[in-house]
Each structure stands twice: as structure tokens, then as C-alpha cells.
């Protein structure tokens, strides 16, 4: 079988055993890889209702047919498991040498089961798997852990590791790799921590099976050079992702003060131009020629890598506008292994709750020293408030009461990304129907809403666009496993990806073939949620209540007096369900499951929740 190694590596930390498991070409074609593999494996192997932080959960690293092969931008891996933050399916991707090394070792998927008796580092080298002690770095941050691993094995190995947040089971702990990469904001770092798995180190020495390796090599390197040429022409990586901050501020989409405001006169202080001016170095993922990781000196003089999401949510969202203190909070998140996005939303939620008298304390927006102190208490679970906020904004809000759930900025328990949808209906839908909780990686429609639709519209064109982008971003890129940035930011043609797929697998697919698999994967994930929450209804796909609150409107600016409206949002949501072939609860119908080749999975899910 070309294009895939054809093997999973299954490791059990409880018994310290491992085995290689072949998978069929039929399985590979049906699910492609990455998120597709992870969703199917987790659905088949996890009993509904298990504790995501218990030994029955599984930590999965899943790769796709072009992952790790030199081509734009293939140095990424998917990490997945049952999410500690949502209780549903959870995943994320991150740039890592594991993408190449695990495939060279002979595996497309690593499945980690059980729980180690003591802190453990898993070392994988081709056929060899070692369970090594990790007490020396237990309790240490991700930077020190990474250095400790590099000192042992050199910088060429693939590394995934966690910091104190993962060890302490912070529900939004991430997995970290390389100098500044993080992924799995659905709590995959906590899943590793629950297994006492401090790190995974991978080295592979074998060729990745490909149908036309010489052709792929030529096309891959040519295209890497071409993407670099295009990026130099467009200038995208001058400001990288943070270029969008100034635009969000212009169009009233910036999160300010726990999303209560949508723009701020001081936002320019932390925009892309200022970030570029403060740049001391640039980092990127493997196989990337449009590197987006801009580092600056933080308040303590450390090198901190910033992008838009962490600037937006640790900056204006906390009413902090100077880059050095934003950099400090970001560095702390990265070192502890806290997701910067959820971390920013949890911090802002608490300040908002204090401000509204729902929570005890005296923390105020803009108090960067106070936020640093609180972040440490969360990552280390120190004190009652730190321990509670480590559970995420939704759980904390339920404890605080006083209506604070309404301004816990989350969907399904996962905090929203740095786009304020107070009056952006389509993007609010994209957050609402994201299959892992609120995340922008699945679909991002704001430019479309403003330029090719009407901001006020709740029409089917927005639901259609959300699905189109889900198929590309959450489907194609998360399954073949590559970074979407060449396409979304520099216009790299989507037609290149079937081309790469054919060179590695020999299969002559069209993009429509990939969309079919994408729809199958989204439906599979919906069935996972149905089993976990059989009584849930369409309200689980609603964005935060504060965006609907008429007392929370802007008093000036482009959306003055406007807010989302429940009845109209519900119509938009129904457009989405209708186009997807889902019922009124947002669950795929039997007919849809049949069409997508999921009849058997549907019958399995029906033992726990009903289908229509």
C-alpha cells in the first residue's frame, strides 16, 4: 500500500507492552488519515461515558498520507482523544518533527492506552519502543523538558511533551513541540498528563512508502520554493497572523474586555506592524517556507513567540495592549503548557465575573501582574480560585452562578478563538457547529460575510460557506495532515493536494472525493457526541449568550446597537442542518449516514441515543 505505512503502533502504559497493527487499504481510503483515523478509532474503541482523564481514554497521534513528506506545509500531526474540556471528541494539530519521524519509523498512527505507574517518556525508534523514566523533568516546564530531550537525542528527533498544566490535569492543557508549537487545545496535554506520559520521542530511519517518490520529491521541493516566492511577493509573513488584528479592530470583531467590546483605540500598540517591529527571530514548522512564528522579548527578557490568537486573547481581551506583558503571559502559557486561547478566555472570564460581583477577588482588567499571578495559580492548581479556573470557564461559571455562564466565552465547554461575533452571525455559526467546541480552525467566514454577503444576513449562503470551509479546513487539511496556511493566506491552489495525494498513493482523486470523506468524518464525530450526550439538543450548537444580549451592544462604531438574535440564529442553524442532512437536534439522519457509508456506526450509536 503506497501513501500509508499501513500500520498503527499501539502502546499500553499500564502493561508496558506494545504491538504493531496493520490496517487495510479500504480503511485508509475511507478515512484518509489524521482526524479521520482518530475519529474512527476513538468511536470504535472508547466506551461512552468514560472519564477523559482516566486510564480508559486513549491518546492518539495520527498522521496522513502526505504528512512528513517534503511539500507545502506537511510538518504537522493531529493529536486526539476524548476531550477533558468538552467530554466529546477532541483533537488539534501542531507542527512537529513527529510527522516525519513517526512515519519513517513505520507508523501512521500512535495509540497510547492505560496509565503508567510513574512519570514516563515513550521512546520509539523504528521497531523499538522503550518506556523510560521521566521523573527528572516531571514538574518542569515544556522548554526545560524539550532541552532535556534534545540533550539526550539531538534536535533531529520528533518530540511531543507537556508542562505542569498537563501534569496537573488542567482541562485546556496542550501538547507542545519544537520551540513554540502547541496543539490539542481540547485538553490533549491533560490526557497525556493523566497517563503520566511526560513526553513522546520518535526517531525513524525507513523510507515512507510512496507511489512515485522521485516525482513527489521534485514536485514537493519545487512547490516549497514556489510557496516561498509567493509569500515574499504578498508579504504575508511580515506580520503573519497578527496582521488581522488591526482589521478586526476596524470592523468591530476584536475581543476586548472578555468580548464585551469589539474594538479599542489602543489596539494599534499590539498590532502586526508593532509585532514585526519588535521581532527578534522567526520560527516555523518543518516543511514550511512561509514561517509565521514571530518572537519578541517579553517583560522578563525571555523569547516569546506570538501569533494573532494569543495576542488577541491575552492582550486586548484582558485590556492589555503592550506587547511585552502580552509576551510574558504567552511565554508562561507555553512553558506551563496551557492553551493560550482558552487560557486568555478563562482569565478574562474571571476578571469579568469579579467585575460583575459573581466571583470573589479584586483582579481588574489591564492588571498584567495580577493576570500572571492568576495564570500560575491555575497551571499549578494553587488555591481555590486557581483550582476552579483550571476546570475551564464553563465549569467555573456554573460554580460562580449569578448568570456568569452567559459570559463564559465557550461553546460545548471549549473557549472561543479571538473573533468577537457580537454581530457576525456566520462566524458565530462556525463556532457553534465546530465539531470540537468553539474553534476557528474548522471554518472562518468573516471576510466572506462582509465582502460577499451582508453582515446582517442570517441566510443560507452563510451556512453553505461554513460547510464549504469545514470540508477544506477541518476535512481535507486535518485528514491528509498539512497546514492550511499556503492556501488560505497565500492563495496556493487546492488542486495541488489531490496532486500530492496521487504522487504518494497512486490514487487519482478529485477534490469532491475528499469532500465526501470530510462529510463522513464530521458525521462520525457527531455520532461520538450523540453517544456522550444523548439528550442534547440544538442548543449545544449555540454560541455564548452574551452575544445575544441587548444590554451588551456597542454604543458607537460600525455595529452600534446591534447584537445576534436568537430566532434568526436558529433559522441559520437550521439552514446548516438541512444542508448537512442532519435532524433538528443536529444529528445526522439515518439516510445521511447511509449515504456516507456509516450505517454500521449509526446502529452502534443508536444503542445510546436515537436517530431519525
Amino acid at each position: 500500500m503506497n501513501g500509508w505505512t499501513g500500520q498503527f503502533l499501539r502502546v499500553n502504559l499500564t502493561t508496558k507492552t506494545y504491538k504493531k497493527e496493520p490496517f487495510s487499504e479500504e480503511f485508509a481510503r475511507k478515512w484518509i488519515g489524521g482526524r479521520g483515523f482518530a475519529a474512527k478509532i476513538l468511536f470504535d474503541e472508547l466506551a461512552p461515558g468514560i472519564d477523559p482523564l482516566g486510564p480508559d481514554n486513549k491518546f492518539i497521534v495520527a498522521l496522513g498520507p502526505i504528512a512528513g513528506i517534503p511539500a507545502p506545509n506537511t510538518g504537522k500531526a493531529v493529536v486526539a482523544g476524548k476531550s477533558p474540556s468538552t467530554g466529546g471528541y477532541g483533537d488539534g494539530n501542531l507542527g512537529t518533527r513527529v510527522a516525519e519521524q513517526l512515519r519513517k519509523a513505520g507508523y501512521d498512527v500512535l495509540i497510547v492506552e492505560g496509565r503508567a505507574a510513574a512519570p514516563t517518556m515513550l521512546y520509539i525508534e523504528d521497531d523499538k519502543v522503550e518506556f523510560l523514566p521521566a521523573e527528572a523533568v516531571w514538574g518542569k516546564g515544556t522548554y526545560e523538558t524539550n532541552d532535556w530531550i534534545y540533550a539526550k537525542y539531538g534536535k533531529g528527533v520528533g518530540v511531543l511533551n507537556i508542562g505542569q498544566a498537563g501534569e496537573n490535569l488542567i482541562r485546556y492543557a496542550v501538547v507542545r513541540s519544537l520551540e513554540g508549537r502547541a496543539g490539542g487545545r481540547t485538553g490533549m496535554g491533560a490526557v497525556m498528563g493523566s497517563k503520566l506520559l511526560k513526553a513522546v520521542v520518535v526517531k525513524g530511519t525507513r523510507p515512507i512508502p510512496q507511489a512515485d517518490p522521485a516525482g513527489m520529491k521534485k514536485v514537493g521541493y519545487d512547490d516549497l520554493r514556489e510557496v516561498n516566492r509567493i509569500d515574499k511577493k504578498t508579504g504575508w509573513s511580515i506580520q503573519s497572523t497578527n496582521g488581522v488584528l488591526a482589521w478586526c479592530n476596524e470592523v468591530a470583531a476584536l475581543p476586548v474586555r472578555n468580548f464585551r467590546k469589539t474594538h479599542h483605540p489602543d489596539a494599534w500598540k499590539c498590532d502586526g506592524e508593532r509585532l514585526n517591529n519588535a521581532r527578534i527571530a522567526t520560527y516555523g514548522c518543518p516543511n514550511c517556507t512561509m514561517r509565521c512564528g514571530i518572537t519578541i522579548r517579553d517583560e522578563e527578557g525571555r523569547e516569546s513567540e506570538l501569533d494573532y490568537e494569543n495576542v488577541g486573547l491575552l492582550g486586548p481581551n484582558l485590556e492589555i495592549f503592550d506587547l511585552p506583558p502580552i509576551g510574558s503571559l504567552n511565554y508562561m502559557c507555553d512553558d506551563y503548557g496551557v492553551d493560550t486561547m482558552s487560557g486568555g478566555c478563562v482569565l478574562s472570564f474571571y476578571a469579568d465575573a469579579v467585575d460583575h460581583g459573581a466571583a470573589p477577588g479584586d483582579l481588574r482588567f489591564g492588571d498584567s501582574a495580577g493576570f500572571k499571578k492568576l495564570l500560575t495559580s491555575i497551571a499549578l492548581r494553587q488555591g481555590e480560585i486557581g483550582d476552579l479556573l483550571a476546570e475551564g470557564s464553563l465549569r467555573a461559571a456554573r460554580k460562580f452562578g449569578h448568570g456568569s455562564v452567559d459570559y463564559a466565552m465557550q461553546v460545548k465547554g471549549l473557549e472561543v478563538a479571538a473573533y468577537n461575533c457580537k454581530f457576525i452571525p456566520g462566524m458565530a455559526l462556525a463556532f457553534g457547529v465546530s465539531p470540537i467546541g468553539a474553534h476557528h480552525k474548522e471554518s472562518w467566514v468573516i471576510t466572506f460575510e462582509l465582502k460577499q454577503s451582508v453582515r446582517e444576513s442570517y441566510g443560507p449562503e452563510k451556512a453553505k460557506k461554513v460547510i464549504e470551509l469545514q470540508r477544506i479546513r477541518g476535512g481535507l487539511f486535518e485528514s491528509i495532515v498539512a497546514c492550511r496556511f499556503p492556501w488560505i493566506e497565500n492563495g496556493w491552489s487546492l488542486e495541488n493536494y489531490p496532486k500530492y495525494f496521487k504522487l504518494v498513493s497512486g490514487l487519482d482523486w478529485t477534490l469532491d472525493d475528499f469532500w465526501t470523506v470530510a462529510d463522513r468524518v464530521y458525521a462520525m464525530i457527531k455520532l461520538f457526541w450523540l453517544r456522550e450526550y444523548p439528550g442534547a439538543d440544538r442548543k449545544q450548537d449555540y454560541p455564548p449568550a452574551v452575544w445575544f444580549d441587548p444590554t451588551n451592544v456597542d454604543t458607537e462604531g460600525p455595529i452600534a446597537g446591534k447584537h445576534l438574535e436568537y430566532d434568526k440564529y436558529d433559522v441559520l442553524l437550521q439552514h446548516y442542518y438541512d444542508l448537512r442532512g442532519y435532524d433538528r437536534r443536529g444529528i445526522p439522519t439515518r439516510a445521511t449516514l447511509e449515504r456516507l457509508g456509516l450505517a454500521e456506526e449509526g446502529r452502534a450509536a443508536e444503542r445510546f441515543g436515537s436517530l431519525t
Binding site: H263, H440, F485, I488, P558
Partner: protein
Amino acid sequence: MKITVKLIGPFVQLLGFGEKEMDVPADTTVEGLVALVGVDRSRPRIVTRNGRAAAPGEGLAAGDRIAISPIYSGG
């Protein structure tokens, strides 16, 4: 008439300014301003006028704030 022009993202480096007040003729349109500023006409872009997306032929008014941005796709 006087308006404020704000450039976003790489347009700042490519065109040499971030934000400035400009004195333009009273009949200036959105596309006219884009040409005046020097944005490559072949480059996909979104122009907002006072925070709302503006059509190419839309006329400007004194005191407007115009932001010219490449098309971002949300990271």
C-alpha cells in the same frame, strides 16, 4: 476633503505607511482612493469605510476612515 486612510498587514510595509490623513477630491470613490494610495490592482483586498465593507464605486465623504486590507482568512 480630508479622510483617514489605514493600511492593514503587509500593505504597511509594501506602501510605506500605516495610517495617515489625506486630502482627496470630493468625488473620490473607494477604487479611486485605492489607486491613489498605490495598492496593486491585481491584489485581492477588502476595503472598509467606517468599519463596513465598501463597494468599489462607493463615494467617499469628508471625515471617512478607510481601511485597506489584504484578504485574511482567519489563521
